[in-house]
């Protein structure tokens, strides 16, 4: 379990003021006519051994945030301080490309689609051993042993090593993807929608595997997802994003039972509950997610917010810690009583 504010906790990742703007270009000369503020001043930290989930709807910037942290794309500004396995802290966002490779061993990614993320022309051994080859780890025999060990770890038989991905089901392929991510003993795993392409009965198996591996290998997860039920099962803390900004961040249980941001409340209410006796009156948000290239004034959520007042239209709220560990970006966070789910 992740330490919450206890003195012993170590920050594995500290993201400060992360921004990623994509230019919008038009015309023959490709002049820049605007910017999409995909990630706009996002700050959070992840403690060693915990799971932090980034949730939100499509286009809210959760995946871009994750990719910036891995330096798969270079952020526009901001810092991502990562504590390496040797104890030193480096800013991944500003590191020159040549120095990234040793860090990449320590942060790995699990992808959403187990069908397109595995090369169909390579065997399981080639796929899982690729990070070892790329980083020149071990001899061939050592790699074979390591791959066998990894396959056993994720619940696959080592004899499968010579087969190709097409012989495996979606759930098994996701296990292969996890084995590949674990090959270099990373400390941080970024999982981008790892179960959303899977069937329900298989989802549960993969989520259980991820929880077990975390305990066994002392992994830290940054989990990117849109499914709040899945998020609840795996996270210690949750950050809700809306149009490039974090609007609320808290310990999982607290965020679900006592949300303080109207968007979180609506999001929780919109999740269909698997119980016909709970057909409650849902909060149905009007309109659509704001355009990140042309966001509304003040609080980005105000055009859809049923609690909006004049201040919301004019002033942009700041992310404030209203209770220990509970951050909210809403002018009315302290006065509103919002509805959560569960006990």
């Amino acid at each position: 379990m992740g330490g919450l504010g206890v003195g012993s906790s170590v920050r594995l990742l500290d993201v400060k003021g992360l921004r990623k703007f994509f230019p919008i270009r038009k015309g023959f000369l490709k002049r820049e006519v605007g910017q999409v503020r995909a990630v706009d001043d996002v700050s959070f930290h992840v403690e060693k051994g915990e799971t932090l989930s980034l949730v939100g709807e499509s286009g809210c910037g959760k995946t871009t945030t994750a990719r910036c942290i891995l330096r798969a794309i270079t952020p526009t500004s901001g810092q991502t301080l990562f504590r390496g396995q040797d104890g030193s802290v480096v800013d991944v966002a500003s590191l020159p490309k040549s120095q990234l490779r040793p860090l990449r061993r320590q942060m790995q990614m699990i992808f959403q689609d187990p069908f397109s993320s595995l090369n169909p022309r390579r065997t399981l051994f080639d796929i899982v051993a690729e990070p070892l080859v790329a980083n020149e780890v071990g001899t061939r025999q050592e790699r074979v042993d390591r791959v066998a060990e990894l396959l056993r770890l994720v619940g696959l038989r080592p004899e499968y090593m010579r087969r190709y991905p097409h012989a495996f089901s979606g759930g098994q392929r996701q296990r292969i993807g996890i084995a590949r991510a674990l090959a270099l003993n990373p400390s941080l795993i970024v999982a981008d929608e790892p179960v959303s392409a899977l069937d329900v009965s298989v989802q549960a198996q993969i989520l259980n595997l991820m929880l077990r591996l975390q305990a066994q290998l002392d992994l830290t997860y940054l989990f990117v997802a849109h499914d709040l039920s899945v998020v609840k099962h795996v996270s210690d803390r949750v950050a809700v994003m809306y149009v490039g900004k974090i609007v609320e961040m808290a310990e999982t249980q607290r965020l679900f039972t006592a949300p303080r941001h109207p968007y979180t409340e609506a999001l929780l209410s919109a999740v269909p509950k698997p119980d016909p006796r709970l057909r409650a009156h849902r909060i149905v948000l009007e309109g659509e997610v704001a355009d990140a290239a042309n966001p509304p004034s003040g609080c980005y959520f105000h055009p859809r917010c049923r609690y909006a007042v004049d201040a919301c239209r004019q002033e942009t709220p700041r992310l404030e810690e209203i209770e220990p560990g509970h951050f909210v970006s809403c002018h009315r966070a302290r006065e509103l009583t919002l509805r959560g789910v569960g006990q």
Partner: protein
């Protein structure tokens, strides 16, 4: 709401009996739907649930007779009971019609509307949304372009698309996911079908947009008195929307019953296991989920007997792997296809 007394006496609007749709491929035959039977009650929402490969989408395509080659309906019947209000009254067996014939083309869109999962691929990218809806209307009704255009505007307005006159002349790629799905619904409903088949209508959408679309479907059903067949893998959506539920596994119906019975007193071991394994928003934080052992068998490699027996916790050797159970009612409750309730 419909009076429950008269409604229970009314014959179901659609009865599927022992439907078999097989795909004949070089590697072998895939029995995508293999003896599915269920009734669709009038003016209600029937949910068909199951995981990938269970045959739920092929069932829907079989009803509309749009199964693509090498697939073919090889057995069973699909009885549609039309009421007098919509042209010719009486029963018709869709499985016996020519898929490309006049009558089937009238039923498709006219009596039964369809909305797909991915609205982006179901609209043509080179025709405006309006032209596609107008074309649908003119195929089924003998009206002028102007009248059809007026009707199309009305439909877009009905499904809650702002400024419908302008949206009519836009292309599908200019609309957001939610608006596109609304336009899809408008097109499906433009000829006043009595049955709407919605195949994963909200799977590609975000939760808040999903809530909007589900709300819209419910509202339209109340207003038009439509019957909805909702095909989904999302048990949350089923619980919120459906009156009746059909649970499918490997091409067969394993259980059918009222929504409350399915969720609170499931009978079939597969339904029970499926309900236990879904991540719930009400669950305790960071707990392991109960899982179903194994995975869905490969379609060429169907187990003998009950298709669920290799994964079933209540497997009875000698019975479940030898003979196939059939769907029969338990007490007066839902229908179940399992030897636990009907000894062989």
């Amino acid at each position: 709401m419909v009076d429950p007394v008269t409604d229970s006496r009314a014959a179901p609007i659609l009865s599927v009996r022992d439907l078999k749709t097989h795909f004949f491929q070089d590697e072998g035959t895939v029995r995508a739907v293999d003896g599915a039977s269920f009734d669709v009650p009038r003016r209600k929402t029937l949910g068909i649930v199951g995981e990938s490969g269970c045959g739920k989408s092929v069932t829907a395509r079989s009803i509309l007779r749009i199964v693509e080659r090498p697939g073919r309906i090889v057995g069973g019947s699909i009885l549609l009971r039309r009421d007098a209000g919509n042209g010719r009254a009486g029963e018709v067996d869709l499985a016996g019609l020519d898929p490309a014939g006049y009558e089937m083309r009238q039923i498709r869109g006219g009596d039964i509307g369809l909305i797909f999962q991915e609205p982006m691929t179901s609209f043509s990218p080179v025709h405006t949304v309006g032209n596609q809806i107008i074309e649908t209307i003119q195929l089924h009704q003998n009206v002028s372009v102007e009248a059809a255009r007026l009707k199309a505007t009305e439909m877009l307005h009905l499904v809650g698309i702002p400024k419908p006159e302008r949206r009519l002349d836009e292309y599908a790629f200019q609309l957001s996911g939610g608006l596109r799905q609304r336009a899809m619904i408008a097109m499906a409903l433009s000829c006043g079908p009595r049955i709407l088949i919605a195949d994963e209508p909200t799977t590609a959408l975000d939760v808040t947009t999903q809530a909007q679309i589900l709300d819209l479907l419910r509202h339209l059903q109340d207003r038009e008195g439509m019957t909805i067949i909702l095909i989904t893998h999302n048990l949350g959506v089923v619980a919120e929307m459906c009156d009746e539920v059909v649970v499918m596994y490997l091409g067969r119906v394993v259980e059918q019953g009222p929504v409350d019975a399915i969720f609170h007193a499931p009978k079939h071991p597969y339904t029970q296991a499926l309900l236990r394994s879904i991540p719930s928003i009400h669950a305790t934080v960071r707990t392991e989920l109960p899982t179903i052992a194994g995975s869905i068998p490969h379609p060429y490699n169907r187990p003998s007997g009950c298709p669920f027996h290799p994964r079933c916790p209540d497997f009875m050797p000698g019975t479940c792997d030898r003979s196939e159970p059939s769907l029969r009612p338990v007490e007066d409750g839902p229908g179940v296809s399992c030897f636990l309730y009907h000894p062989a």
